[in-house]
């Protein structure tokens, strides 16, 4: 993550999306914006990878979607976590914690 801005460790995008959606249902751009803001601009998620990821997760059952109107009265597709998604988030967060801790130990050794 020390490299160029916006590049992500393989496989982490879905975990970040899950984490973001865990707060509240959001539309696609909302997810992208949120990730960018919270990461203080380190990660910028391209719609070309975000939307396919959401579609894949919806198909796999970890998120579901619904058309709602936005704060400024437009129709948008909102995504929200399912129970499967919640469980996946827990598992992945735990796995991530173990991995980063292990990597940190290796780097400090």
């Amino acid at each position: 993550m020390g490299q160029k801005q916006g590049e992500m460790v393989q496989g982490t995008l879905e975990m970040l999306i899950l984490k973001t959606l865990a707060l509240e249902p959001m539309h696609g751009y909302g997810v992208a914006l949120r990730i960018e803001q919270v990461s203080a601009g380190v990660f910028r998620v391209n719609p070309g990878s975000l939307l396919p990821a959401l579609a894949r997760m919806e198909r796999a059952g970890s998120v579901k979607s619904e058309w709602r109107s936005t704060e400024n009265n437009r129709r948008a597709k909102y995504y929200m976590l399912t129970a499967v998604g919640r469980k996946a988030l827990m598992d992945e967060t735990a796995a991530w914690g173990r991995q980063t801790a292990a990597i940190a130990r290796i780097l400090e050794a």
């Binding site: 539309h27 696609g28 751009y29 909302g30 992208a32 914006l33 391209n46 719609p47 070309g48 990878s49 939307l51 396919p52 990821a53 579609a55 894949r56 198909r59 796999a60 059952g61 970890s62 058309w67 936005t70 437009r74 129709r75 948008a76 597709k77 399912t82 129970a83 499967v84 998604g85 919640r86 469980k87």
Partner: protein, 909 residues
């Protein structure tokens, strides 16, 4: 109905591609708008913001492509997951999987085997050019020859008519003729050893009319078929050529048949077996060689010798109706000018009036097998279909029970977010996997089974030459059947299994009753199985009883201890004159002298080998409707009646005094005696063959012999005449030997005796008279065996179904039973409680099954002998069997219930 339309509308919209595409566009547009708006708020100009947003996203089409492939990948991934999960679940319960796969394999395999037989016998087209334009004259039911004036619908035609018709008709682009008989004889290839070969005599136009081109060399043409005796050429079949090592130099070699060398001019293409389904001649030889191939037959140019099938190709613009009109016009003209003399009799005129040719489509070739075997095949198809239905119902009820047992698993998966459709899909994957496994096993066994069926259906040791290995059409049929099967048994249980109250299921222990509807569906399935099995069992009983009756028919002759040798005197090149008679009688005498032999005799026909029949006229006996029926003729040796154990009732049998040059004599049977001489003694009277009174003094009746069966066990008494072989000189293929002692020692002794007289006479085959009688009921035995097998299979499946249902019910009611017993119910009460449940279902199933069985059995009426399709004994036996089977299957779980210890049952909650 508005709500229905509305729902359909929504349903369609949900799955429509446009909707998905439209939503994708809308989402992308929303994304762009939101992104641009954020940039505007951050201070960009609207144009710059919109541009930057578009640049960030890149090509919308590329994004959409990514989304689509992401979705597709998940579909494949899900399917893979489902498959792996299914394999695990099926492996977990091997007993269930085994029963399911085996019953499906039997069901699907039986259907595939029968369909592949149906395909060759009834559906497959000849591998010729445009088979749809070919027509057959008549229906091809008759084989052999007829010498009477054409009357009613003709099947067999003379060579002169073929010649004349080919030249005068205006509706066919070509006419082909083929002898109705496939000749079995001996031949040797360029000096090699002699072997059995089959030959088909065809016109020179045969291959060009069919549009069959040679694999190598050339086919026959008109020049081969110009003058009698001139066409010493032959086309070999591809199969024969392959049997002889696919010799590249085969064309040009000669094959020696009955004293003539035939030059092999070509090899037929692979896959072409001729025009008669079930026959595959080794050689096609021009009709001009008719006399040489079968010396006993009449002259080809004799217009009264009608032995040919005619097949013609319609001209491109001619309709079948036009063709029929022109054909019949020419046929009538030909009969009037060639057959009716100057002073035709009343009967001749009546025959002429009715004479006609029916043109039938010949795309699928000629098939007596089709005529004989289509009803048995239809019945077998129905039986196999019922078995598959029962297997489906059985599996559905097993899956229902499993679904109930797995409801906690499903509830768990749904609780953590799996949708119901996802679980239904998973369950259907399991069902289809079972169906596919069953189908794979079924097709593998069908391969063998259809060949076995063919052997059983062939009526003789010589198997009909047909390719019954499953082809694309058969495999397609099986695939459709499999999918249909999977849906039939899989859908209802899958939907039922996932319909429940989540919380309830998670909490549910064993004691709670499952929803009543699920149980009643399981009961309906059991009732359906019982009803269908009853139909099968009743049919099986009917066929078995009919077969027993048929086997007990008195044939008149004694079928035990008679060996039948098939001798080919033609292959030994013996001329058919007094020398032939001499050799035949020498063989009879020599074999008669073998120790242990009681009698030995040649005969033209034996039981169930077809017949030769005609009118006769008796001197001094006026014709009545009763005695104008055809009489069956046979040509036999003097030992025939002893060999068959047919006692002489009056006069004498045939003996050595009946020589070629002595007055002509015959022995008649009781039916003939009764028909022509109702109140007098027939011995000493004279008769002649044919209806003409001119010849009625030709032959003297010297004796009367006991009646017998001649063509079939079912036949009503037939009038028959036996001529001595010395007065009807011809090759006689049957040689019967009545003996006592060991068959194994008798055969070589008889062979030696025959070889001592003439070592060149080959023995084509050896069977017994009992076998020949048995072969005549091949269809009935095939059906009886298969229906009994399938009936037992169905009963076995019902057993499994009942056992499963009751075991489940007992497990569910353990605590209830415990309470009952604690309150004083006895073990017998509990036993009855459980058994009663199943007996009620059986009673309902039987009530539904009886009318079904009665309706279904009517289909079989034609195949039954001496029984009505509504035979009460068969039906009662089936009902009794059903009750016995159900009680047996119900007894084990019921007994288990009766052994429940009240304390244990109450504590297990």
């Amino acid at each position: 109905m508005a709500w229905l339309r509305n729902m359909a509308e929504r349903f369609r919209a949900h799955f429509s591609r446009e909707r998905v595409e439209h939503e994708m566009d809308e989402e992308l547009r929303g994304f762009l708008d939101a992104s641009a708006e954020a940039k505007r708020r951050a201070g960009m100009t609207p144009e710059d913001a919109a541009h930057a947003a578009r640049v960030e996203m890149g090509s919308p089409n590329a994004v959409k492509h990514h989304i689509r492939s992401a979705v597709w990948e998940t579909v494949v991934e899900n399917l893979w997951q489902d498959l792996r999960y299914s394999v695990r679940m099926l492996a977990k319960s091997p007993g269930f999987t085994l029963v399911a796969v085996l019953s499906l394999a039997l069901g699907i395999g039986a259907n595939t085997a029968i369909f592949s037989l149906m395909d060759v016998v009834m559906l497959r087209s000849l591998p010729v050019d445009e088979p749809g334009r070919l027509v057959l004259f008549g229906q091809g039911r008759m084989v052999g020859s007829t010498g009477s004036l054409p009357s009613e619908s003709s099947d067999l035609f003379s060579y002169p008519f073929f010649r004349s018709f080919s030249q005068t008709n205006q509706v066919f682009s070509g006419v082909a003729a083929t002898d109705s008989v496939e000749f079995s004889t001996h031949g040797s290839l360029s000096g090699a050893g002699s072997e059995v070969v089959t030959a088909s005599l065809v016109s020179g136009s045969f291959f060009s009319v069919l549009g069959v081109n040679p694999d190598r060399g050339r086919m026959l043409n008109d020049s081969d078929d110009r003058t009698p005796g001139s066409g010493t050429v032959a086309v070999a079949s591809y199969a024969w050529w392959q049997r002889h090592g696919s010799d590249p130099a085969a064309v040009g070699k000669t094959v020696h048949i009955e004293g003539i060398n035939y030059n092999i001019v070509g090899i037929s293409p692979p896959g072409f077996f001729g025009t008669t389904v079930g026959e595959a001649p080794d050689f096609w030889i021009p009709l001009s060689m008719e006399k040489e191939i079968s010396p006993g037959w009449n002259d080809l140019n004799n217009k009264w010798f009608q032995s040919l099938y005619l097949i013609a190709r319609l001209k491109p613009v001619v309709t079948p109706a036009q063709a029929a009109a022109n054909t019949n016009l020419l046929f009538k003209q030909y009969i009037r000018s060639e057959y009716l003399g100057q002073f035709p009799s009343q009967k001749d005129l009546a025959d002429f009036e009715h004479a006609q040719i029916e043109l039938t489509p010949a795309a699928r070739g000629l098939s007596r097998l089709r005529v004989e075997f289509s009803l048995p095949l239809e019945i077998l198809t129905a039986i196999a279909g019922l078995v598959l239905l029962i297997a489906c119902a059985n599996l559905a009820s097993l899956l229902l029970a499993r679904g109930t047992a797995r409801s906690r698993e499903f509830a768990m998966r749904m609780a953590i977010g799996a949708t119901r459709s996802r679980i239904v899909r998973q369950l259907l994957t399991e069902s289809f996997m079972l169906a596919l496994l069953g189908a794979a096993l079924g097709v593998a066994s069908a391969w063998k089974a259809s060949h076995l069926l063919l052997i059983m259906a062939s009526h003789s040791p010589q198997v009909a030459a047909m390719d019954v290995s499953p082809n694309l059409r058969v495999l397609g049929f099986t695939l459709i059947l499999t999918v249909f099967t999977g849906l039939l048994f899989g859908v209802a249980p899958a939907i039922r299994a996932t319909r429940f109250d989540l919380n309830g299921s998670l909490k549910q222990g064993r004691g709670m009753a499952a929803p009543a509807s699920r149980i009643s569906l399981a009961r309906m399935l059991i009732v359906a199985q019982i009803a269908l099995s009853l139909v099968l069992l009743a049919a099986a009983n009917l066929f078995l009883r009919s077969l027993v009756k048929l086997s007990n028919v008195d044939t008149g002759f004694n079928r035990q201890n008679v060996l039948v040798f098939s001798l080919d005197q033609g292959a030994a090149e013996i001329p058919s004159d007094a020398r032939l008679v001499n050799i035949q009688q020498q063989i009879e005498d020599r074999v008669q002298a073998v120790p242990g032999v009681h009698a030995a005799s040649f005969s033209c026909f034996l039981f169930n080998q077809g017949m030769w029949s005609d009118d006769i006229s008796v001197q001094g006996v006026p014709r009545t409707p009763e005695n104008s029926q055809d009489v069956i003729f046979n040509v036999v040796g003097k030992g025939f009646f002893s060999a068959m154990s047919l006692p002489i009732v009056a006069g004498r049998g045939l003996n050595a005094t009946d020589r070629t040059d002595s007055p002509k004599v015959a022995v008649i049977n009781e039916t003939m005696a009764h028909r022509f001489f109702p109140d007098g003694l027939p011995v000493g009277h004279r008769f002649g063959m044919g209806e003409s009174l001119m010849h009625s003094g030709d032959i003297e009746i010297v004796g009367v012999v006991k009646n017998a069966k001649y063509v079939a066990l079912q036949e009503s008494p037939e009038a028959a005449v036996y001529f001595p072989l010395s007065q009807h000189i011809q090759y006689l293929f049957n040689f019967e030997v009545r003996y006592t002692g060991e068959e194994a020692q008798m055969i070589p002794a008889v062979r030696r005796a025959i070889a001592e007289v003439n070592p060149n006479i080959p023995i084509n085959g050896i069977s017994t008279l009992a076998e020949q009688v048995e072969e005549s009921t091949a269809n009935q035995r095939l059906i009886a065996r298969l229906s009994a097998f399938f009936g037992l299979l169905a009963a076995f499946l019902v057993c499994i179904g009942i056992y499963g249902l009751l075991s489940y019910a007992v497990a569910r009611r353990t605590s209830e039973i415990g309470v009952r017993m604690a309150l004083g119910a006895r073990r017998s009460n509990v036993l009855w409680l459980i058994l009663r449940e199943i007996l009620v279902l059986v009673a309902i199933g039987i009530a539904i099954g009886v009318p079904l069985a009665l309706a279904g059995n009517r289909l079989a009426a034609k195949l039954l002998y001496g029984l009505s399709p509504a035979d009460p004994l068969s039906l009662f036996a089936a009902i009794a069997m059903m009750f016995a089977i159900a009680s047996l299957a119900g007894y084990l779980p019921a007994r288990k219930a009766s052994l429940v210890e009240p304390t244990v049952a109450l504590r297990c909650e």
